[in-house]
Amino acid sequence: MISRFSLIMWLVSAGVIGLAFAAEGKTVNFVAIAMFFLFVIATLGITYWAAKKTRTAKDFYTAGGGITGFQNGLALAGDFMSAASFLGIAGLVYTSGYDGLLYSIGFLVGWPIVMFLLSEPLRNLGKYTFADVTSFRLEQTRIRLLAAIGSLSVITFYLIAQMVGAGKLIQLLFGIPYLYSVIIVGALMITYVAFGGMLATTWIQIIKAILLLGGATFMAIMVLIHFGFSFGDLFQTAVQNHSKGESIMAPGGLVSDPLNAISLGLALMFGTAGLPHILMRFFTVPNAKEARKSVFFATGFIGYFYILTFIIGFGAIALFVQHPEFFVNAKQIIVDNVPKIVDAADESKNLIGDKKALQGGENMAAVLLANAVGGPAFMGFISAVAFATILAVVAGLTLAGASTLSHDLYANVIAKTKDEQKEIQVSKIATFVIGILAIILGIVFEKQNVAFMVGLAFAIAASVNFPILLLSIYWRNLTTTGAFWGALAGLIVALVLIVISPTVWVDVFKNPEPIIKLKNPAIFSMATTFILTILISKIDNSKRAQEDREGFETQYFRSQTGIGAEGAVKH
C-alpha cells in the first residue's frame, strides 16, 4: 500500500527541507542531497510499481503470499540494522575501538536465544504480541496493563535513539540546525503513519537491508583497498592516529568496568527477545521451518554487517586524519611525517576518536567516511539509506506504541468494551501524541550516542518483557499477580537506575556526579523481575492463580506442537 501519496509526501518533504535549508543559507553538499532524494524516490517508486501489477484471480491473493525464510531473514536484518545500530556502532568503534564490538556481539548472541526459547512456541501459539501471548492463560486486564507499560517504555527509548540518529543525519546532510531536523523528521513520521503509508514495510526492510549491506560492503572494501587488504596496516594506522592509542585494541571497558559490560551484554542478548517489532517478524513467514531459516539468514547477515561496521569504524579512525574538514574547529598538522588532526586552539589535543569533535558528533562517523571513500554522491546514498531506515523503524515503533495504547490500555483496561472502531480512533490520536513526544525526547537527548540509547531500550525489554514471556511459556507456576508485580518491580528498578546513572543524571540533568556508575541497568533489573515474579507466584494462592496454573497444560501442548486442543489431524 505504498502509494503515490508517499511519493508526493517525499517531494513535499523535499520542499520543506529545501526551504529550511535556504533559510539557513549555509553551503551544502548538493550532490549528496540530489542523490538522497533520487534514492528515496526510486525506492518508493519500486514499491509502488510492485504493488500495481494484478490481472488474474490469483493476483488478488498475492498479498496473502507470505515470504520465504531468506526474504524474511533479510527483512529481520533490515529491522535490526537500524540506522541507530549502523551509525551508532560505527561511532562507538570510532571512539572506543574494540569496545564498540561488544555491542555487535551482544546483538548477535541475542538471536539464537530468540530462536530457541521463544520464536517457535510463539508461532505455535499463533499469538504475536507480548500481551497476546501472556494473556493466553493469565488474566487479561492486569497483563495488558503491564504489557502497555513495558512496551511503551521500550518503544520510548528505542524511539529516542532513532530520532537522535535521524536528526543528526539531516542536520549534517542539509546543514540545518538539529532542532529543525528533529521536528522535520517527527512531522514526516506522523504524516507517514497517519495517512496510511505504513504498510509493506517488509519489502522496504528487504530493499533497505540489501542497499545497506551493499553500501557498507563498498565502504569496507574501499577502506581495505586503501590499506592493501592488510588488516595489520589498518589497525596499525588506527592505533597511530587515535587519541587513545593502543588501548583501542584492548577490551578497556570490559576490564575496567566488568559489571557494566556484563549488564550491557545481558540487555543486548535477552532484550532482542522482548522487542515488539522483532517478535512480529516471526509471523511474516508461513511456517516454523521458514521461521528457523529466517533466523539463520538474519544471523548471517547481521554478523556480516557488524564485521563491516567494525571495519568502517576503524577505517574512520585511520582515514579521517586526511580530512580536517570533517571536524569542528580542527586543523591538520604534520608531526614526524605523520599527519594529525588537532584542536585549532590546542595543538596538543588529538581529536581523532573524540566524541564531540566530529561534525554531527560521533554518530556521523560512518556517513563522513562514506564521503571520504566514495565522494558526496555516495554520502548522499548512504544518508538516504540511513534515513529511509530510520523513518521505517520509527514509523513501525509509533504504530506499535499506538496499538498498545489503544488495544492493551484503552480497550482492555480503561473502556473494557468491545468497540474496535473506537479503538482505531484512539490509536490515531495516540499516533500524534507519540509523534510529538518523540520530537521532544529527540531534542532532549540530542547529545547521546544512539547505540547506547538502543542499549537502554534493550535493557527494559530484557527486564520486563523477556522474563515474563519466558516464564509464561515454560513455567507452570507463573501467576498473574506474580508476573504483574515482578515485572513492574523490574521496570521500576531499570528506570530508577537509568535516571541516576551518568547518562541521565549527568548528561541530561547536568548534575556533576552520577549517583551510581553503572550505565546499563539490565543485570539488576532482570534479576529483580525473575526473583520477585517467582517468589510471588510461589506464594500466590488466589483463585486466579489456580486458573493460571490450570491453563498451562493446554498452552504448553499448543506451544510445543502448534496443534489446538481440538484441531488434531491425521497426516
Partner: protein, 596 residues
Amino acid sequence: MSIADITLFLKSIYPFELLSEHQINQIVENIEVVYHRENQKVEDTDTYLYVVLKGVVIEKDPEGRDVNYLGEKDIFDYRKIMNSSQNEFFTADETVFYRVPLAIVRSIKEENQEFSRYIEKSTREKLSSLASESPYLFARIKDIPLQKPLIVSGEISIWIAVKRMTEEMAKSIVVRFEDGYGIVTDTDLRKKVILARKSVDDPIGEIANRNIVSVKNSDFLFDGIITMMKYGIKRVIVKDDEDNLVGILNELDILTQHSNQPQFLALRVEKSKSLEDIKLISESMVNTVRILHREGIRTRHIMKFVSEINQKIFRKLFEILAPEDIRENTCLIIMGSEGREEQILKTDQDNGLLLKDGFNSPLLEDFSREFKEALKKLGYPECKGDVMITNPYWRKSLSDYKRSIFDYVNHINPDNMLKLAILVDLKSVAGESELAQELKEFIFEQISDNRTFLSWFALPTIQFKTPLNIFGGFEAVKGEIDLKKGGIFPIIHGVRALSVEYKLRETNTFSRIKELSKLQIFRQEFAGELIESLEFMLTLRLRESLRKIEAKKIPDDHVGINKLSNLEKDLLKESFRVVNRFKDFIVNHYKLNYIT
C-alpha cells in the same frame, strides 16, 4: 390559459408546492407551451423540464425499453435536474406540455432547500432502487397457483351469482357474454347494487364491468402487476395462448405469495423433466436480471434470487445424473461467489464434490464429466480456474479436503490463499450435506483461533489501493475505475476473514455483515454503511455489465467515470470512503501493519 391558471396548475403539483411565490413566478415567466402529435420524440429534455398538461408519454431507457408512463401533472424524470438520466420520452397520444429551462429549475433548487432535498431524494430513490423490496416477481404467471375463475352467464340473477360467490369464497365473478367477458367484484356489488338500491333479481350482466384487462399466462408475474398499476385495478384476467380464460390474477394473491416466493419459482425447476426445460429457465436468466434491475429491485435480492435458481438447477441436475450410490456417498458443493450467493451474470461453474471417506466408484469420473457438460449446455461456462468436479483436486474425500486445508494453513502462498478463500465460502447443494458441514467445522477449528494465519489470510483486503486520492477525488485509470479491486473485493474478502474467525455459518457477504454486527464486531451503523456501499458498487457493476452485454462486449468490473451522474459520483466516493474505513478496521483487527 391565463398566468393565474398556470400558477394554480403548477402549485397543485407536489414539488412546486414547496416553492415560494417568487420562485413560482420565475418559472411561470419562463414557461412555454409545447404540443406534440402521438409517437413523437420529445426533444431537448436535457435543457428543459417538461410537465404533462394533457396526454400520455412513455419514458424509455437508453436501451429503448419502456420504463414509465406519464400522464397529466407528471414531471419528466427528476434525474434530469441532477443531470443523471439519459432516458428519452415519446408521446403515446396527442400531448400538450409545459416546459421550463432546466437552468432555471436548477437555480431554484440551489435556493430552496426543501425543494432541493425532495428532488435529490427522489433521484436517490430511483438510483438505489428502493421502489421494490421484492426479488421474486419474475415467475411466469402460469407457475403461480391462480384463483380459479368463477364464470357465470350474464343472464342469471345477481342473487344467484352472489350465492355462488359466497359458496366458492370468491371475491369476484366473471360474467360471460356472447361477445366476451365482464367482471363483477365485491366493490361493484356494494356500489352498484346495495348503494344503488338495485334489485338482486336483475341479471348480473347489467352491473358487470366489461372493460376488463387480461394478461397471458406466459407473461411474468410483474407484467401482471404493472398492468394492474397502469390501470389502477386490483385484478386481471389471465388467458392462455389460445385465448382461453384460465384464471384471475389478484393483487392480494401476489402479496400472499411474497412470503413463500422461492418455492413457487423453484417449482418450475423442480417440475422440469428434461435438460431442455431447465435450459429455457437458465437462458432467460440474463434477461430476467435485466428486468429485475430495471424494475428497481435491489441488487442483493437479485443475486440471492439468481443463486437460488442456480442451486435448484444444480440440485436437479445432480438428481438426474448421479447414480444412487454417488448421491448417497457424496456431497455436491458450490464455492466462491456461487457459494456466497453473489453470482449475478457470469455464473461460472464453481463446484466440487466431497466424498465420504472410503467411498469410491468407477462411475465418478463419468458422472462428473456428464455433469459438467450438462451445465455447459445449460449456459454455465467452465470455470477458468478449473474449480469443477471434473478436476480430481476438487473431487476428493473429506479427509483429503482436510489435508488440503491443513496444507493451506501451513504453506502460505497466493495459490493456497486463493483456494482457501474459495473453499471458505462453500455451500452444500445436493447429496450428503453433513460432509460439507464437517468440512466447514474443520476449517473453523484450524483457522479461527490462529491469529497469525488469519492475518495473512486477511491481508489481500488491503492489497489494492482504494481509488481515491488524498483530496477525495477519484484516481481513475484511463477514465475508468475498477470497482472490484477498488471496493467490492476488499469488503468481500475482509468480511470473509472475519467470518472464519467468528465461525459464521453464513456465506453471503450481506448476511455475514449483519451477523458480525450482531456479534458487536461492527457498530450497527457501520454495518449499515458497509452494506449500502457494497450494494451500490455491485449495482453499478451490474448496470455497466448489462450495458456491455447489450453492446456485445465482455462485461468486466470497470466503470467509466463519465458514465456516472454527479450524484452517482458522490455516492461512489462515499462508498470508497467506507471501504477505506473498513480497511482501517481490518488493519487494526488483524494487526496487518506488523506483517506487511
